[in-house]
């Protein structure tokens, strides 16, 4: 490695070592939990059969959302729907959040073909937990971003630093693409060094994506703390008083139709594909539907008046400013959930590689430091004025 012993390269090398080493264990933890988080939904799919969507027959077709809602209410009398998630992949059951008459919010996994509640989420939501553990170390949000959010997203700086210094040290890194080198028989130190470099060159774009998007998460929190908003978020839409009907005493209030709301959106935006539906939070609220259109990185949003079934407001990809286009693409780029299972597995694999690089980086240093320390101890022959106390 030290063929070219120029002092500036040596300096970069020292910088590269020192950027990662003091924080390696923390970085390792964040990389590992992040890697698990990319496939947390799939882990739940494997662990809990209730989260899977099995068609009762080959020619079965999914129910409309209104029928799903009616089926849920029939199975859990009085339950009021709040949110419904239509997973991107057809192998997953619908996720329905509802509040039961005892005031508890429940998450049901509902079969999209017959509306059967296949299972209820227990108190422990693995996906939510692993995200909170990775993203903000479970620290609380009290009127601002959690302190753990800053700690984790600030790791993007040393991560980017490692990337840049690593490239500077190995200016001809691209040679490794054509001549990969992994020496197994020359000792652990050489092996870990080769592995570290080999994995690094292959995951350069991934590390760049993860660190840049994480830097945005840090910037986002800092901007929020200083009351600066990038996205022009309009004030919450509330229906006018006279837009909400009045009914005679004793008569049932008007019912909300999710299918009609989606039909209204699709009439205006034929490409729109619903992914997440929120029923009105109040009598003066809208049905809000989030979904992805032609550009998969950005969630589009439409609000529908539940009484007239007219689209009251929509934020489609084309409504975004260039800046919003970039900032709103950051999260999907970070988590890799926008193209299906194959991309999640790619993210998982590169996540493992990045986690392994943190570990191998530490091992390389420890092996080098250990031998250097031994050398130092061996060289010390000057007798000391006082004998060291025996341990």
């Amino acid at each position: 490695m030290a063929k070219n012993g120029s002092s500036s390269r040596r300096l970069w090398f020292v910088a590269h070592s020192w950027i990662g080493l003091p924080i390696w264990a923390f970085l390792f933890f964040v990389c590992l939990t992040g890697t698990i988080a990319t496939v947390s939904q799939e882990i739940m799919w494997l662990a809990d059969p209730a989260t899977r969507a099995n068609p009762p027959s080959d020619d079965a077709r999914p129910l409309g959302y209104d029928d799903v809602m009616a089926a849920v209410e029939q199975q859990r009398p009085g339950a009021r729907l709040r949110e419904l998630t239509q997973p991107v992949k057809p192998q997953f059951a619908l996720i329905v959040e509802a509040v039961t008459p005892d005031g508890e919010q429940q998450t049901y996994y509902v079969n999209p073909y017959d509306g059967t509640i296949q299972g209820e989420q227990s108190w422990f939501d693995f996906r939510q937990f692993i995200r909170a553990l990775h993203g903000w170390l479970l620290t609380p949000f009290n009127g601002g971003y959690a302190i753990g959010w800053y700690a984790v997203s600030a790791l993007s700086i040393p991560l980017m630093g490692s990337l840049v210094t690593g490239i500077v040290i190995h200016k001809k890194f691209w040679r490794l693409y054509r001549n990969p080198r992994l020496r197994i028989s020359k000792g652990a130190r050489v092996f870990w060094g080769d592995l570290h470099r080999l994995v690094a060159v292959w995951s350069l774009p991934f590390i760049a994506i993860i660190s840049v998007t994480a830097m945005w998460f840090l910037a986002e929190a800092i901007l929020y703390a200083n009351n600066v908003t990038v996205a022009a978020t309009p004030p919450p839409a509330v229906l006018a008083r006279d837009a909400v009907p009045t009914v005679e005493r004793g008569e049932a209030p008007p019912e909300v139709s999710i299918d009609a709301a989606i039909a209204a959106i699709k009439e205006k935006h034929p490409d729109f594909s619903p992914g997440f539906i929120k029923v009105p939070e109040t009598a003066y609220g809208h049905v809000t539907v989030y979904g992805r259109g032609a550009y998969p990185l950005i969630y589009e949003e439409a609000k529908v008046d539940p009484y007239s079934n007219e689209v009251a407001r929509s934020r489609m990809v084309s409504d975004r400013t260039a800046l919003e286009f970039v900032t709103e693409s950051m999260r999907p780029l970070h988590v890799g959930d926008f193209a299906g299972l194959w991309l999640k597995l790619v993210y998982f694999l590169f996540g493992l590689m990045l986690t392994g690089m943190v570990l191998s980086g530490m091992l390389i240093w420890m092996k080098r430091t250990a031998s250097a320390t031994r050398a130092v101890i061996r060289d010390v022959t000057v007798p000391r004025p006082f004998p060291e106390p025996a341990e």
Partner: protein
């Protein structure tokens, strides 16, 4: 070099593993917050009591005990939760809460959001509120009828009243 110093030299680089104490320490609070949000521990941290408004009944609670939380430019916000009881579940169109007496239904305060069994509202704490202020609950029926009730802020949220009293000093 002593063995202790050598050990320090070797192990100091693993000190960042201590960061893992953070999620461990915050885990109980994280799970407590989740069970508060999903209602499994009840309406809120502190139940204020059943309010009677005409033919309707509703239970009011402090979502979390403690002073208001300052949320950006919106200023201090205190969150309450509400459960509509029996006929009110289907009869009531909207519920509002305000610190201070509302002049009309259009200024009835924060609108409760969520299912009738458990809804929450973030109530703005006005600049002129003090420890003696009153909290006004307004229920609006689907038939257009309106019922109101009030209670002292010191009863609705002793911690908010204490916070306001301290602010006045």
């Amino acid at each position: 070099m002593s063995a202790l110093a050598a050990r320090w030299r070797r192990w100091r680089f693993h000190l960042s593993a201590l960061a893992l104490i953070v999620p461990l320490g915050f885990a109980p609070g994280y799970f407590r917050q989740l069970s508060l949000e999903d209602g499994s521990v009840g309406l809120g941290e502190r139940t204020i009591g059943v309010q009677r408004l005409g033919r309707w009944k509703a239970t009011l609670a402090e979502f979390a005990v403690g002073p208001p939380v300052v949320e950006g430019p919106a200023g201090p916000i205190k969150t309450f939760s509400l459960a509509l009881e029996s006929v009110a579940v289907d009869d009531v169109k909207a519920a509002y809460l305000k610190i201070g007496r509302p002049r009309s239904i259009r200024s009835a305060g924060a609108l409760f959001e969520g299912a009738p069994y458990r809804q929450t509202a973030g109530v703005a704490v006005p600049a002129d509120a003090n420890g003696d202020s009153e909290v006004w609950l307004t229920l609006e029926g689907w038939d257009g009828s309106i019922e109101q009730a009030s209670l002292p802020l010191s009863e609705a949220s002793p911690s908010t009243a204490a916070w306001l009293a301290a602010r006045a000093k």
